[in-house]
Symmetry: C2
Subunit: 217 residues, 2 copies
């Protein structure tokens, strides 16, 4: 096994996205106490050809064993290392309205190595209160708290109208990655990464399933 | 062009998932006034081989033209038809707490053909109020309203502890697809489809981007 990261610059976003999908499959296999899986079978679970699976991993190194395939636990650990989720990431939540409060209660982040360690708002009626055992700070404290807690990731859950002015403060505070729930284009320096959340995609999958179900009957 | 849907039963979920990704790329190409795209270039945008792209579409028919590739508008329309989003889907929102209220304000659903037409809760302090111009009904009204409004999809945004008892009512009301935000396993008849939301996946993509950024410096 050999992790090369020389060409990491050229990895398409969608390949990185599939790393998350592979990881979820491996986590499921491990829960079922499966030790190994071939590229063919791993691909089959995700509707990918074995060649596509191997090509995806080839960006990062050589992880399979001839005649064995991938060792689930080992490959999962490799993916976590590639994604950077082999450590716990402290995350800042910006915006503690309905969405922000819902996200504070969301259990899925912690399970994959993300921990919301600080929450911010500008609304004086929210600042100073506690939500899910976390004190809400004023956004002006973001810079000092990000430095103290070494926060590099932020979840942006503010109204669209406020998003761009807030983003400037995130950049100043040294935030390098933003998960954006506001459906607006953000003006960001190249050094800051952004991922937008597209919840409609999941509904499309459901629509398909329901259409399919209708045809079956 | 020829849409065959005979083998639709055997389409892996991940292929259907990629239909959404292809659709987003095509929508972007159309905004940029691109008329056609080859399977190679469409694949490149998503880090997929041309063979994988063609294999994905082959489940549903033959959409490309020799020497031309795919016609963007046409392929987008085909995908919408396959997914079932060539029509507007009325959606029920179950649970009008923080998450539910945030989802009622979410603009991304409408853009892709989903419309939350009815909201439900059991909390007497919320039932009867209006959120985002939508009246909140008691869950007991779900059956009659689902029939009247022909609702087949529901977004489940209730606390985990309530999820399974609510699901029974959804099934009774004829809901066929559930977008589940509660991080629990739901007991569902086979005729009802479910998609869970995994927000951590997006954070993993950000973690990778930040790690990559760090290595570049």
């Amino acid at each position: 096994m050999n992790t090369k990261r020389t060409n990491i610059e050229n990895v398409p976003k969608a390949v990185v996205n599939r790393l998350s999908l592979y990881l979820r499959e491996l986590q499921q296999l491990m829960r079922a106490e499966k030790m190994t899986i071939s590229s063919t079978n791993l691909g089959r679970r995700l509707g990918l050809t074995a060649a596509q699976v191997r090509k995806d991993f080839a960006y990062f190194g050589q992880f399979g064993y001839p005649g064995i395939g991938y060792r689930c636990e080992e490959l999962a650990a490799e993916i976590r290392q590639i994604l950077g989720t082999d450590r716990v990431w402290p995350v800042a939540l910006i915006g503690c309205g309905n969405l922000g409060q819902a996200l504070l209660g969301y259990k899925g982040f912690k399970k994959q190595g993300f921990r919301i360690v600080a929450a911010f708002d500008v609304d004086r009626s929210i600042v100073g209160t506690e939500i899910e055992s976390l004190k809400v700070h004023h956004l002006d404290e973001l810079l000092s708290m990000s430095q103290a807690l070494e926060i590099r990731l932020a979840i942006l859950a503010v109204p669209s109208s406020a998003a761009n002015s807030v983003v400037e403060k995130l950049v100043e505070a040294g935030i390098l990655g933003i998960l954006n729930f506001a459906p607006v284009t953000l003006n960001l320096p190249k050094s800051v990464s952004i991922v937008g959340v597209d919840l409609a995609m999941e509904l499309e999958q459901l629509a398909f399933a329901v259409v399919k179900q209708g045809e079956r009957q």
